[in-house]
């Protein structure tokens, strides 16, 4: 046997081990007619799944790797990130490990438990790390996402994309449409899960502007900031309008945090700031000024 051949055998064994490892943390989720989906055990008695696979709110069950069928309750759900958290009494399965940050080109195994026959898997790579993912009228669903070319078989939504050690890059879903497998990075999914278990829904702050990224004039650039957001529309009666933002303003900072792109703005408008005044620094006609805006709530 050549060296390449034994490497193949080793890789093959490692991938089967990876599937076996994550398989124990994956449950089959029965929450819609005909096609069950998958869920990931991420904490004691808690399962993360895709929101869109829960077509009913009662009579939910999960089936574990050791074939126990258990009742499940929805703790919280969020359609915009397509995430939901279930509580399963007596779940008692190993918790999924989270992988280090994904890199484009890394091998990825999509693993789901779409039927009582056992787990299924498909092989691919981390194709792209992108974001933000926008839904509908420009509202941001995910700050970051991972795309993979691993085949999402029916029932894989709520399953995991794992690395070759079986640690999860994130939760896989086809709920964002176009049949594409989108992976919600584990840290992001866990953050949403935290909000869902705390309050049952995800709070998002909002200003009510449409903006586009522009390069700042040299005088306004700094090490931390090369770009700003040009306001191209201000919604009527929105927090932005009430706070005095105008079309043509270039958004520079929120509470002192540089806003280089839409991601930065989403991050700055986190749920804790809803209803509170924040300092918004803009460049108006080349002159910086600071406005006070009370952050609104959306979604």
């Amino acid at each position: 046997m050549t060296q390449t051949d034994s490497m193949l055998v080793a890789l093959s064994r490692q991938m089967a081990d990876a599937v076996e490892r994550i398989a124990m943390s994956l449950v089959m989720v029965s929450g819609r007619p005909r096609q069950p989906a998958t869920g990931i055990a991420y904490d004691d008695e808690l399962v993360l799944t895709a929101d869109h696979v829960l077509e009913r709110e009662d009579r939910l069950t999960v089936q574990t790797y050791d074939n126990r069928v258990l009742g499940a309750q929805i703790v919280g759900r969020d359609s915009s990130t397509d995430l939901a958290v279930l509580r399963v009494k007596g779940l008692n399965v190993p918790i999924a490990a989270a992988a280090a940050e994904a890199r484009v080109g890394q091998l990825g195994l999509a693993v789901g438990r779409p039927s009582p026959e056992g787990v299924m898997a498909s092989l691919g790579v981390v194709s792209k790390i992108g974001g933000p993912l926008r839904m509908g009228r420009g509202s941001v669903a995910l700050e970051r996402y991972i795309q993979t070319d691993a085949t999402p078989y029916p029932g894989f939504s709520g399953g995991a994309l794992v690395d070759v050690t079986g640690a999860a890059f994130g939760l896989l879903t086809t709920g964002f449409g176009r049949g594409a497998a989108i992976v919600i990075p584990m840290d992001l999914a866990l953050k949403v899960a935290g909000m869902l278990t705390k309050q049952g829904y995800v709070k998002r702050g909002y200003l009510g502007i449409v903006s586009q990224q522009v390069r700042l004039p040299p005088a306004q650039r700094s090490d931390a900031q090369e770009y700003g957001l040009l306001v191209v529309r201000v919604e009527e009666n929105s927090p932005a309008e009430k706070g005095g933002l105008l079309v043509g303003d270039i958004l520079l900072t929120v509470e002192g945090q540089p806003i280089n792109d839409a991601d930065d703005l989403v991050a700055a408008l986190h749920g804790d700031r809803i209803g509170k005044p924040v300092a918004v620094r803009v460049s108006r006609g080349g002159i910086p000024q600071t406005l006070t805006v009370v952050v609104g709530q959306k979604g």
Partner: protein, 191 residues
């Protein structure tokens, strides 16, 4: 590894047209046996013996005859009247695991000996029509085309662990595990 496995893969022809692939399963001094899918050779059992031909990886063409076929398992056994064709190394498909690396060799769209790769996606069992029993099957994400029918699914060591059968839209293929093939051929021989 692939080069060695390729030697045991044949193309199956009828009336000068490639219709699928096959695996040299067994050979002795005077004759050889090829396994393929029943659907590849359906209706050819009673044709004149020169109707069906197999072409080996080194380009030699031999006439072949359907010895037995089971449409429920989608398996067929062909007899080739020439000895010492290189028989495939057969692996133990009862020990397959989801996630294992696999390769397929076949003749998609008429190109001979095309290799594609993927993993074992699932292991399941299907009910055999009218037989009152089930048979295990392998699902894989190896990219397959109709010309892969009857060709081998290989593990990372280059051993045949399955015979590729049904193909669903390119990203989900079904294969018959090699131990099912072995049981079936044993039955056929000794029954």
């Amino acid at each position: 590894m692939i080069a060695a496995a390729k030697a045991s893969v044949v193309q199956i022809y009828t009336a000068g047209r490639g219709i699928g692939a096959g695996v040299i399963w067994h050979s002795d001094a005077v004759h050889s046996e090829v396994i393929t899918n029943a659907h590849v050779v359906a209706g050819l059992e009673r044709r004149p013996s020169d109707w069906l031909r197999v072409v080996t990886a080194d380009g030699r063409s031999f006439k072949a005859q359907v010895l037995a076929s089971d449409p429920r398992l989608d398996l067929a056994r062909l007899s080739v009247p020439v000895g010492r064709l290189p028989a495939a190394k057969v692996g133990d498909s009862t020990r397959l695991r989801v996630g294992e690396l696999v390769f397929a060799i076949g003749n998609p769209w008429g190109q001979a000996g095309v290799v594609t790769s993927g993993i074992i996606s699932g292991l399941g069992s299907m009910t055999l029509r009218g037989a009152g029993r089930t048979a295990p099957y392998i699902r894989s994400d190896v990219s397959l085309a109709p010309g892969n029918s009857g060709g081998p699914l290989l593990n990372a060591s280059g051993e045949v662990v399955g015979i590729n059968a049904m193909i669903f839209g390119g990203d989900l293929g079904m294969a018959i595990p090699s131990h099912v093939v072995a049981e079936w051929t044993a039955q056929e021989t000794w029954a």
